[in-house]
């Protein structure tokens, strides 16, 4: 039997029962619509979480000096003299997967502004540190590479430091504070960062050019830590191994000799995030499955009723020459047409609902192509799966019995 004839027959049957067809479709429409809207909302929140994590610096890699001396007196990591300026220059020049590098060295001390004082640490960094950490300024300006060269006595205040040194709420930008009796000009205020994963107050810090800390406070040429930023989240592992290679070369470490540094990524944070989003995705998939199964049962139910109701029609079709397979195909195609049409309308509804959610609730949403294609395919197979049995039943009717059916 020609496909076009089958389609014509199924289409005419659907046309004859508009209301029932619509009601059957409704299950699928709502199912698909809900799936698309839910996945869009899920994806949207996932993306927004992702961008927040990236904002926290999920691309961040930190390199610390460690002792690789076996035996003898082991030094505190902070005092190990392993990371120096040539390392940073090597990383800046050779690394392909790194977008920014900043050394870091910090000193603890008392910061003083008039009658107020606060014990805090002063961290010496490059201006790139702010972008590595994803840490914008709240006001003022950042120091520059020129300030790094000249070991300028300028600083950026963290929120906690600012609140303690300027409790009256005065604007600290342009004011002079003292740290270990050295006057520093405040040129900017860092935005609030909050606590880190370990509960440390990240805002309790003063940032200043790295050379300033090295030369004016500690009189050292070494760094405690080097921060780097991978070009994107996916390449953090590549970047980490690249850093290892570059630093081993730069430190002239022989094969077999342990690293005198460690390279750490934010892998923990990322893995937590991926497992969370996996749970979310699974949850959505389960909901998707349930709603489509319910829709499919709706189709099956109606197809059954339809087969019973149209027994006489089936008998007639058989008497004028329809084979079992023709009847089977007719009902199957009807079911598939209903589910595909329902699917199409559902996709439209889902996208509209998503738009409305964004418009009125301001939730971030993102309709993925794959969710549309997936739900559409599921629709098709729902139609085939749930349409098959009633269609089979129809095709096995005895024409004489069917014709006599009232």
């Amino acid at each position: 039997m020609k496909l076009i004839n089958l389609l014509t027959i199924a289409w005419k049957a659907i046309k004859r029962n508009k209301m029932r067809t619509f009601l059957t479709m409704l299950g699928i429409i709502i199912g698909v619509g809900a799936v698309i809207a839910m996945i869009a909302i899920g994806q949207g929140s996932r993306q927004s979480i992702q961008s927040q994590i990236t904002g926290m610096g999920s691309n961040m890699i930190n390199i610390r000096a460690v002792s690789n001396v076996m035996g003898g007196v082991r030094l505190d990591n902070a005092n190990i003299q392993a990371l120096e300026e040539p390392d940073v220059i090597a990383l800046q020049k050779k690394a392909e997967y790194i977008s920014a590098v900043s050394p870091s060295v910090s000193a603890r001390g008392q910061a003083i502004n008039g009658p107020n004082n606060w014990s805090t640490s002063m961290q010496g960094v490059y201006p790139e540190y702010l972008s590595i950490r994803g840490w914008p300024l709240q006001s003022g300006v950042s120091f520059t590479s020129q300030d790094v060269k000249t070991a300028a006595k300028v600083c950026l205040l963290g929120q906690t430091v600012m609140n303690n040194l300027f409790p009256d709420g005065a604007d600290p930008v342009g004011r002079i504070i003292r740290f270990k009796n050295i006057p520093f000009k405040v040129i900017g205020i860092l935005s609030k960062k909050g606590e880190n994963t370990f509960g440390q107050d990240q805002d309790d810090v003063i940032l200043t050019p790295v050379t300033t800390v090295q030369k004016r406070l500690l009189a050292t040429t070494y760094y405690q830590t080097i921060f780097a930023s991978a070009i994107d989240e996916k390449s953090t592992d590549k970047a980490a191994s690249e850093i290892e290679d570059i630093l081993r070369a730069s430190h002239k470490l022989q094969k077999g000799v342990d690293n005198d540094f460690t390279v750490r990524t934010q892998a923990e944070l990322i893995s937590t995030f991926t497992s969370t989003s996996k749970i979310l995705t699974t949850l959505l998939a389960v909901i998707a499955g349930i709603s489509l199964v319910v829709g499919g049962i709706g189709i099956m139910n109606i197809m059954y009723v339809s087969v019973t109701e149209r027994t006489k029609e089936i008998g007639l079709r058989m008497s004028i020459g329809a084979r079992g397979i023709d009847i089977l195909m007719q009902f199957l195609i009807e079911a598939i047409m209903i589910s595909i049409a329902g699917g199409l309308i559902g996709v439209g509804l889902g996208i509209t609902a998503t738009k409305l959610v964004t418009m009125f609730l301001h939730w971030p949403t993102f309709v993925t192509q794959s969710s549309v294609i997936l739900s559409f395919l599921v629709c098709f197979f729902t139609g085939v799966f749930f349409g098959y049995y009633p269609a089979l039943k129809a095709s096995r009717l005895d024409p004489i019995e069917a014709l006599r059916y009232e």
């Binding site: 039997m1 020609k2 076009i4 004839n5 014509t8 027959i9 005419k12 046309k15 004859r16 006489k312 029609e313 008998g315 007639l316 079709r317 058989m318 008497s319 004028i320 020459g321 329809a322 084979r323 079992g324 397979i325 023709d326 024409p399 004489i400 014709l403």
Partner: protein
């Protein structure tokens, strides 16, 4: 004209009703030649519907031979039977069996949808021709609900004609109609027969049988009488002789 198209020999059909075996047809033999107009008469339970089902390739005999147009029907599979019905037979039912909410022309086209050799264009042409033959070319787009019983039966006859069958099987085709409309349908059937169509008409009304050329009477699954009608009545004449109460309205509505 007188080629034998149906040859039935020692046909038996049994039905199992629980423990009991019912002999619906018991050793029935007859032949039908092309161009005949046969009525099969019998009271209910006489086996006439079973015979029609077998003639119509909807059912197979328990034993015996049924040769339709040189095909041994008893040996065919379900699908082959379906094809045979599609190409060689036309059915007219008592309750018309038109698809609801489907226009007359679409109803008539239906059998050809199951025939791959016919294009959509041919289908339409044939449907128009068949509707013309039953006098309904004015109402091709009417739905069954907009047509009278007689008109619906005419659509059904057009549907039976569309595949140019070698035999038309009618099962109490006038059973649901008033006598005036019945006569007009019989007149149409006589006209088709005059144009060469072979017709087998099942009825229990002797009045209807009198329009056919030959009557086979069944009782308890056996042929009790198979006689040629000496005096075939013309349904048209009977219709014209009726009280002309509907003279002003259309002939047969």
């Amino acid at each position: 004209m007188n080629e034998v198209i149906v040859d039935i020999l020692n046909l038996k059909r049994e039905f199992k009703m629980g423990e009991e075996i019912v002999m619906a047809l018991n050793d029935v033999s007859f032949t039908i030649s092309s161009g005949e107009f046969i009525t099969i008469m019998g009271s209910s339970g006489s086996g006439k519907t079973t015979l029609l089902n077998i003639l119509g390739c909807l059912d197979k005999p328990t034993s015996g031979e049924y040769i339709l147009n040189e095909t041994h029907v008893s040996q065919l599979s379900r699908n082959e039977l379906a094809k045979l019905r599609n190409r060689k037979l036309g059915f007219v039912f008592q309750s018309y069996n038109l698809l609801p909410r489907t226009s007359a022309i679409e109803n008539v086209e239906l059998p050809l949808l199951y025939n791959n050799e016919i294009s959509a264009k041919q289908r339409k042409e044939k449907a128009l021709k068949a509707l013309e033959a039953v006098g309904l070319s004015e109402r091709i787009h009417y739905l069954p609900s907009q047509l009278s019983g007689g008109q619906q039966q005419r659509v059904a006859i057009a549907r039976a004609l569309i595949n140019d069958p070698i035999i038309i099987l009618a099962d109490e085709a006038t059973g649901n109609l008033d006598s005036r409309t019945s006569y007009s349908i019989m007149s149409l059937i006589q006209e088709l027969n005059a144009n060469g169509k072979t017709i087998v008409f099942i009825t229990h009304e002797p009045d209807i049988a009198s329009f056919s050329k030959r009557t086979i009477t069944l009782r308890d699954g056996k042929i009790v009488k198979d006689a040629v009608n000496e005096h075939v009545r013309s349904a048209k004449d009977v219709l014209n002789s009726l009280q002309p109460i509907n003279e002003l309205s259309t002939p047969e509505a």
